[in-house]
């Protein structure tokens, strides 16, 4: 019964779970990884975008190197090697930001290079590949990349909107501005608030999914029971006792002529 229901929706369910985990297991809001660059660096939407893209590049590069390096990244110095590799990968990132985005480079300060040693890069990537294998580990890394990107972008947008009344430099409607939104203390508070919102949203979605799943299971059981009830002839022949079969055979002849009466019998027996 359950296999008949889960086969077509299995892939969709897995995708829904994976998407839900972007919020319920967000690496920053829930896991507490790499909060430092988000708190101080993501003061505007542009900064948040740059941080998210830089972290994505570093994590993808490191995961590729870990996959090629294999056992090398399982030794106790894996964090150091991972930090060195990500610092090497940072060279093109730093060059592009310094050359083409000088304002954002000054605004981000030391917090963009700090991504090289942040826990989401040097800890999460090697552990994910070592514990889950390459395929599932890579999917987990992509999930963390998207989760971190969403977090930095969201925090940057909120802080720029609160602080300057703009989003990506474009005016956005607002009732009031809070200029201190760019300071680290507001970063902590905003991350705390957004983390609570993410937890609540994930809990509500899971609760609704659970209710939907219970309803689906109940509906399937009702359908299966109805299907079983629609096969009365096979049920009648198997349910008649052998001892009484000779006597009842004479009785069934008129019953067969009257199918409506015969159809009612299994219902009454039940």
């Amino acid at each position: 019964m359950s296999s008949r229901a889960s086969r077509p929706g299995k892939a969709l369910h897995a995708l829904k779970e994976w998407t839900l985990e972007l919020f319920s297991e967000n690496p920053v809001f829930i896991g507490g990884l790499s909060i430092t660059p988000v708190v101080v660096g993501a003061t505007t939407a542009a900064n948040g975008l740059i941080l998210g893209l830089a972290a994505a590049f570093l994590m993808l590069f490191l995961s590729g190197m870990c996959a090629m390096g294999g056992m090398l990244f399982r030794v106790p110095v894996q964090k150091g090697l991972a930090a060195f590799v990500s610092a090497a990968a940072f060279i093109p990132v730093g060059y592009v930001v310094d050359t083409f985005l000088p304002l954002q480079s000054v605004s981000l300060g030391i917090y963009l290079p700090l991504l090289c040693v942040s826990s989401i890069v040097v800890m999460k990537v090697p552990h994910a590949l070592a514990e889950r294998g390459y395929r599932k580990g890579f999917l987990h890394i992509v999930q963390n990349i998207l989760g971190f990107f969403l977090c930095t972008l969201l925090v940057g947008i909120v802080r720029e909107w609160l602080g300057a009344g703009t989003i990506f430099g474009l005016p956005a409607p607002t009732l009031l501005t809070v200029p201190s939104a760019a300071y680290p203390y507001m970063g902590f508070i905003i991350i705390g608030m957004l983390g609570a919102a993410a937890k609540k949203a994930a809990a509500v979605i899971r609760e609704n999914e659970l209710l939907d799943r219970h309803e689906q299971i109940y509906t399937e059981k009702w359908v299966d029971d109805s299907l079983d009830m629609e096969q009365p002839d096979a049920a009648e022949e198997t349910s008649v006792a052998p001892e009484g079969a000779v006597e009842e055979q004479t009785d069934t002849a008129p019953l067969q002529a009257e199918p409506s009466a015969g159809q009612e019998r299994p219902v009454n027996n039940q």
Partner: protein, 197 residues
């Protein structure tokens, strides 16, 4: 006397007013994990103190060489992580050779204490401010002890938070972030907006 004043000035500034955690948010993730395992707080902070102090001094030396071998800004993370790797390797060799039993006990804390935002952040700050060797020493010590101070404050704060009737969504990390934010706000009340990031 001048050297002592210079050291004390930098040390107290970084310990209190430009606290590693509350003012610069360096090492938040590590702090969250440490307060859940209080037995590892002192050993971790002891190792961190050594790492930040030695790394700050080596980075100061690297900056002195920068005059002859300039390092572009996008290459600095690689150079500084290289310094951290050298310090890590030396620590493992020296500690493992002379104090093997304690090395085996605290080895799992070595790489988290070395490769984190606190150490790299202190190196960056020291090299950017063009500090002297004595000030770099004060910066390294002050960074690690400021981290220890922040961990102690957060540890007892978290214990009090657990006793309160906090809504389910705010339990754990969200309430801790708001708590850190309020303490950070108090520190910014002292220093204003003079910190350069």
């Amino acid at each position: 006397m001048t050297l002592l004043l210079e050291f004390t000035n930098t040390f107290l500034l970084v310990l209190l007013f430009e606290n590693t955690l509350f003012a610069r948010a360096l090492g938040i993730g590590r702090l969250i994990r440490l307060i859940e395992h209080p037995a590892t707080i002192l050993p971790f902070c002891g190792i961190l103190t050594g790492m930040t102090t030695v790394s700050s001094l080596l980075a100061w030396a690297l900056t002195a060489l920068n005059q002859w071998f300039p390092i572009p800004s996008f290459g600095k993370p690689l150079a500084f992580v290289g310094v951290m790797l050298v310090v890590y390797a030396l620590t493992c060799v020296v500690w493992g050779s002379f104090f093997k039993s304690s090395y085996n006990t605290y080895r799992p804390l070595l790489s988290p204490a070395m490769f984190n935002c606190t150490v790299l952040g202190s190196i960056y700050i020291g090299t950017r401010e063009n500090l002297s060797a004595v000030s770099a020493l004060g910066l390294g010590l002050g960074t690690a002890l400021g981290f220890l101070l922040a961990v102690i404050i957060m540890y007892y704060g978290q214990k009090q938070l657990k006793k309160l009737d906090i809504p389910e969504s705010f339990r754990g990390l969200p309430s801790e972030m708001i708590y850190i934010g309020i303490i950070s706000l108090a520190i910014y009340g002292f220093i204003g907006s003079s910190i350069l990031f």
